[in-house]
């Protein structure tokens, strides 16, 4: 009996050390972001087994990989973090011999500021951070950050803001006409005052499950487009607004780590998700666009022409990609943020 237990333990210890050997691909991705069928399909096509490990923030992923000894092959960083990943040499350039279908990427998503010419990464998903509003309670204009920063009485007290400091700060800075990493003290003062004045109207700063909106815990908030779509599919009263003063665009990108154990399998996987029918699975799962030409044809019908997915042309220009701010700016943002949440 004891012997068996000992053997079982030894087997388990051993099985995890061989991870990274041939035929195994280790993906490190955001939690609940990967369609299980995507991995099954990949294994069926290539015979490579896939292991998926989750993270919950860009900072965790970066800290984890920077320290080395992680055993991952693929990571999916957001646009603001891409430059850090690239300049620190954490990513491996795409291998054109294996990643042959780069032409499938929408031309709009090739010369992106965070990875010019797509030398290191391929699109995973992209979206916007805007506002969600229960239009049954409020029938005014929703394409404004005022629904959160200066809310009408019918929404006040039932507002949830995602606890993403950079997104919320960006919307507030754009609201005052500033640039994302501006050091202008007058601007920052107004931003702080706006946030401090808005805070009493907010109920929570939670990632806020879709269920909480559907259940009526929240009537409005700052939210992601895909999540808002999942809310709307359950409660059609909810609508997504694009603040006209400016709102963050974001894109998560799949890339191979420079110390990957199995770079060949990893490159194969990147090429695999460049295929429209595979990219569509990513979108169907999380309800975000993916930037791969022709993938719309394979998407669920409710994705086609969804107002959260198709940015209205008159509001498209207000969407901006951010950058990671220098430490001194980030420190000020953190200080404002802490003051607000004290």
């Amino acid at each position: 009996m004891k012997k068996q237990a000992g053997l079982a333990i030894a087997a388990l210890l051993a099985s995890t050390t061989v991870a990274g050997a041939e035929g195994v691909l280790n993906i490190y991705n955001w939690g609940n972001y990967t369609h299980p069928e995507l991995l099954e399909r990949f294994t069926a096509e290539t015979g490579i087994t896939v292991t998926l490990t989750d993270y919950d923030s860009n900072d965790t992923a970066l800290a984890r990989v920077r320290q080395g000894g992680h055993g991952f092959d693929i990571v999916v960083p957001s646009d603001t973090y891409m430059q850090t990943w690239i300049t620190e040499g954490l990513l491996m350039p795409l291998d054109p011999a294996i990643v042959t279908d780069r032409a499938n990427i929408d031309p709009n998503w090739i010369d992106v500021p965070f990875d010019p010419g797509r030398e290191y990464s391929v699109p995973w998903a992209w979206g916007t951070t805007g506002v969600i509003v229960n239009t049954a309670l409020y029938d005014g204009d929703i394409n404004t950050a005022d629904v959160v920063f200066n809310p009408p009485p019918e929404l006040s007290g039932r507002i949830n803001v995602i606890p993403e400091m950079s997104d919320v700060m960006s919307i507030a800075i754009y609201y005052h006409g500033g640039e994302r990493c501006s050091m202008d003290t007058d601007l920052l003062r107004s931003v702080r005052d706006t946030l401090m004045a808005a805070k009493p109207h907010w109920l929570a700063l939670d990632y806020g499950t879709v269920d909480a909106y559907v259940a009526g815990d929240f009537n409005a908030g700052i939210y992601w487009n895909g999540a808002t779509m999942r809310v709307r599919l359950q409660n059609p009263d909810f609508a997504y607004g694009y603040p006209v003063t400016g709102y963050p665009l974001w894109m998560d990108n799949a890339a191979v780590l420079s110390d990957a154990q199995n770079p060949e399998a990893a490159m194969k996987f990147l090429n695999f998700i460049l295929q429209p029918e595979n990219a569509a699975l990513i979108s169907n799962f999380a309800r975000y666009s993916n930037g791969i030409l022709g993938s719309e044809a394979f998407m669920d019908p409710e994705m086609q022409g969804a107002p959260e997915i198709d940015v209205p042309s008159e509001l498209a220009a207000a969407g901006r990609f951010g950058e990671a701010c220098p430490q001194e700016v980030n420190d000020i943002h953190t200080q404002i943020w802490t003051e607000m949440l004290q």
């Binding site: 900072d59 920077r66 973090y81 003290t185 990671a324 980030n330 802490t338 949440l341 004290q342």
Partner: protein
Amino acid sequence: MGGNGWKWLLCAPALVVLVLAASGPLVIVAIYSFLSPGNMGGVTWEFSTEAWFRVFFRRDIFEPDLVTWNTANLAIFWRSVWLSIQTTVICAVLGFPTAWFIATRSPRSRPFWLFLITIPFWTNLLIRTFAIQEMIRNNGTINTVLLWSGLIEQPLQMLFTDFAILLGMAYVFLPLMVLPLYAAMDKMNLSLIEAGYDLYGSRGAVLWHIILPLVKPGFIAGSILVFIPAIGAYVTPRVLGGGQSLMLGNLIALQFGQGRNWPLGSALAMLMLIVVVVALVIYLRTVGRSDGERRV
């Protein structure tokens, strides 16, 4: 001194694991609190006391020469301490009678009650916290029952308040109070209690003069086990408090995460460590002293 070798030998395996996997790494945190923040997280190896300065003071964002107390950090600090004290008291008030109830069952049924305490805790903290969230949300079970019974007309806002944080922490940490209390009560010498009745007569006096001193080791263990994880709580304030007012654990996590200021996070963590140790020493000294007096 020579006769103490076996004591060290018995402790050695535990100490090796602890030094390698808990205390050793902590030295790194102490060192980090005196370094400068790195680009996008991490540190650069330049000595600096800026992090410690920032724990207590802040330069006004708009007038850099103006230095004031960092009231935001201090407010969060105090909040955490206060909520943790309340949690410990709630756990003690509920836990003592519960442990007593278990300890006074017949010896055969005691394990059953003991297991009943631990069963909910076989589901992990996040699931339990979400279960509470479901229960106290506006259209959750409690509000539904209250509305149905006519006691209230509008749903009570319980979720995303300090009440929710307290409820969640007390719920999560309760067995950490009950189990050590029970362990101390279980082998209590009942003849002492009988003698106590002969001496004092009243139940209250027996409880105060006989029972409480007897279970004190369990009580001390329970309070420590509840207070310390409570002060560093991260998940409960985030999920039940809705993250709209930070606790210390969240503030530290913020610095290591989106704030990208690891030295500041390290300094806050070290400060918390110091406060806990000081509180612990004071607590054990006071409790220990009154114990000595009583024995006289």
